[in-house]
Symmetry: C2
DNA sequence: ACCTGAACACCGTTCAAGT
DNA sequence: ACCTGAACACCGTTCAAGT
């Protein structure tokens, strides 16, 4: 692929985003990106620093696509909706989303969402539990999505995984085998399809409900 | 370093575990492992297959160190204790723990913990919400730990991160700046220390409580 | 200011050959 | 069965040199 010179940082980041999404982070390299852009590897270093910095920019390109819900709704619905939008963005760009879970991008602008969450928590009246409420929500929601998107076995190995699971010994795994039909290919660590084919929508809604119910129970009694 | 020949798969996995923990996954390579063992790279391939399979074995070596609590206690305490043990293991071997979040190891034996969790959930009476309760707990707890252990900026960049955060514009980030003392270096995405220096113990306890409270609220009314 | 061309010090993996 | 030695096809990054 030929690209007009001079190239820009913006084009580099956009192309890196696309390549990571198309071929996966493991297949992505500075050299393949340079080839894709029709340019020498060293050129990239002039524009974006090194690989790690470039990945930080890609990560930021991803996070800025999550839009805050407006504040008109009640806090529960606002929190739930934000969590859903975060997850939706992750499912639209799963490979970059997994990258973003590493928090490489130290960009202040990516703190706009955290700031809004803090504001909402304060208004809810979490009081001196602010940090913990924040960490619990952030860790649980982002963490769930990371786990959900964790790369499955390579496509050709999927049926092997399925066979392994179907062959589980009822003596050793009495509970999983008894509830096999409910769990198989649905529960974390027991899936052989990837997240795109089998999104855990209902489990995510369940988590959000559990979190917000549990959080409400922690609030001082002045609010329900 | 010299190693007696013939070498064993067990020695390879043990050494790989140690190297990943000492120097980080990024610094780990098949070649450096071979050098450490005083052996040619090709030898490793004969014993463990390829890099990806070896990492799977290291992951399993990590997960099998988590011991199940005995079943005598009530389900809430059992769940909380298991979550704590999982996290404690992660903090003892953070670099391998992050590797394990990728679920590379497709080893049936690593399903012993999931099986026990399923059993407990069933006894709690989650009914047809079994998969979702399982995924919510698993995703939230494991996810929180992954986020907590996410690599911070390189040590030499820590003070830069701190400066950036202290320089946040109160116009743009009114909530974070107002609660800066509570949040700084404590909240996810706002830390400059790593997890070893600043473990999020209280936030984790908060999360576990929120999850179990919220889960209890989902149960049919036959149980409190 | 921006890019080339070449080089350096690495990788993971394979394979024939040795014992 | 287990290991060597060499090779192949890659990496990220740096740097002098070009324009």
């Amino acid at each position: 692929m030929r690209a007009e010179v001079p190239i820009t940082r913006d084009i580099i980041v956009t192309t890196a985003f696309r390549l990571i999404e198309e071929r996966g982070l493991e297949q992505f390299s500075m050299r393949s990106l340079a080839t894709e852009l029709g340019v020498f590897p060293a050129t990239l270093y002039w524009h974006v620093g090194d690989r790690s910095q470039l990945l930080g920019m890609v990560e930021f390109r991803w996070i800025e696509q999550v839009e805050l819900p407006d504040h008109l709704t009640d806090w529960r619905e606002w929190m739930a909706e934000l969590a859903r939008r975060y997850r939706r963005n992750a499912h639209e760009h799963p490979n970059v989303a997994r990258l973003a879970s590493l928090e490489r991008a130290r960009n202040n602008e990516s703190l706009l969402i955290p700031d809004a969450i803090v504001g909402t928590l304060v208004r809810m009246g979490v009081g001196d539990q602010l940090v913990h409420a924040y960490n619990a929500l952030m860790g649980a929601v982002r963490g769930f999505v990371v786990m959900e998107l964790a790369p499955r076995a390579e496509p050709d190995a999927a049926s092997d995984v399925e066979e392994d699971l179907r062959a589980l010994d009822p003596e050793q795994f009495p509970n999983i085998t008894e509830h096999f039909d409910e769990m198989a290919d649905q529960a974390l660590s027991m899936r052989w399809s990837n997240a795109a084919e089998h999104p855990l929508d209902d489990s995510f809604e369940f988590l959000v409900k559990v979190l917000l119910d549990g959080l409400a129970a922690q609030l001082p009694r002045t609010r329900k």
